[in-house]
Subunit: 139 residues, 4 copies
């Protein structure tokens, strides 16, 4: 069945990098997902704070999950991220997606990342291309 939950489960099970990040799926529904992960010391950069690529990667996974829930395969095209607050080792990050628009061929999402104190640490905006291929999950 191609429910939003099944599509996201399928994507996650096959997503070695999101597993390395330790991403947990908190909630999934049509056009939406909420994800969580904990920062580990192998995710730090030369300033001993979390590498910008970690928040970006969490947001990019949220973009993939949220955009694919509609049942069409979607590919990320153009994304931007603003880093607002430093993220420290041990911080627990939550990514929440919001679908800003969706047309036949493209869709736009805003993904906000919070730390464990509900402080916003990054804003991510992502545009996906919606292919004509439908998800077909048999299991």
């Amino acid at each position: 069945m191609n429910s939003p939950q099944n599509i996201v489960q399928y994507l996650y099970k096959n997503d070695a990098y999101s597993q390395w990040l330790g991403i947990e799926i908190i909630e999934v529904k049509i056009g939406y997902c909420k994800l969580k992960m904990k920062v580990r010391k192998e995710m730090l950069n030369g300033f001993k704070i979390t590498h910008g690529g970690i928040s970006y990667s969490l947001a990019d996974t949220a973009l993939a999950f949220a955009s694919n829930t509609h049942g069409k395969k979607c590919i990320s095209m153009e994304t931007s991220i603003s880093h607002i607050e430093c993220v420290q080792n041990g911080d627990c990050l939550t990514a929440v997606s919001k679908e800003l628009s969706k047309t036949e061929k493209t869709a736009l999402y805003l993904i906000t990342i919070f730390n464990q104190n509900k402080q916003e640490v990054a804003y991510f905006k992502g545009t996906v291309y919606r292919t004509s291929k439908d998800w077909e999950i048999h299991e």
Copy 2:
């Protein structure tokens, strides 16, 4: 000595995540760096292609390295990336930076990522904030 090379070596030695990515430093000079890395299977996403966070992370490391070569500590503020071509398992990526502008407090870089066939796979634009703290490396 605070040469561009020493600053980048220091940053790299302390950057656990760039080491996990397997980044190699090819060339460093004032306002510039060239980096390389090979994609491994733990960097793939649910579509079995390279997760967008990997190219972003390579570019973000290049941004940190290039912007810090001037001797002032710089922090990434706003970045965007356009994914042009899919990156496959085993691909070898090269990131090349170009300094587009530099003022007292901010600087802007364009970072292009190529695959082993010299095809452009991603364009990254990054703005950094240039703090008033100087690098002081004693070794």
Copy 3:
């Protein structure tokens, strides 16, 4: 007096281009503004829809107004806009700002543009540099 309202009035009175656009100030408070304008036929592009530069310009004015309300002179550094819906001749646009973050030296705003049907037509994200110069308005 350097109230948010006075600063925005001063900026607006001297802003020939925002006046050409026909921008009206609906509401101003610390870190916030709401603006309105009506699209005229000299704002259309070769497809006979509103030129993307018009929505951008409205949002960029909102960015300038909102960021300067804190009493420090702010300059736009990096902005991006996603065009969601076509804007037609005669449409009435409203821009609403949201301050996403503010540090000593930089601040980030999300500006949403709606048409007269309360449909979102564009999302704009802008980063400003906060100079050390204070506003001093004597009148």
Copy 4:
């Protein structure tokens, strides 16, 4: 005939706003254009420098012209601009486009804006959606 030149001429002739801006077409070829304009006093903002919307608008016109030269109707989706140098009243701006990528459904352009001293004043990155409609110009 649907030559790049004819398509751009058609777009320009119908583009009231680009005419208001005083844009001149310097060169057009497949996937490329070079445009010029002079800043007038009605384009200034409340700081008495050129409103950010003016450079954006010039770049956005260049994006429309360059992307439509291939003969398919293209629509701007996601654009970003970094303002590098202030632009003054009377400055003469030149926009030069570079096609970074082009697939069946989307294309990406980098547009650089120079002033009369060949200084770079802004960098613009734009993604367009390539519709399935062909240009058909009869004249």
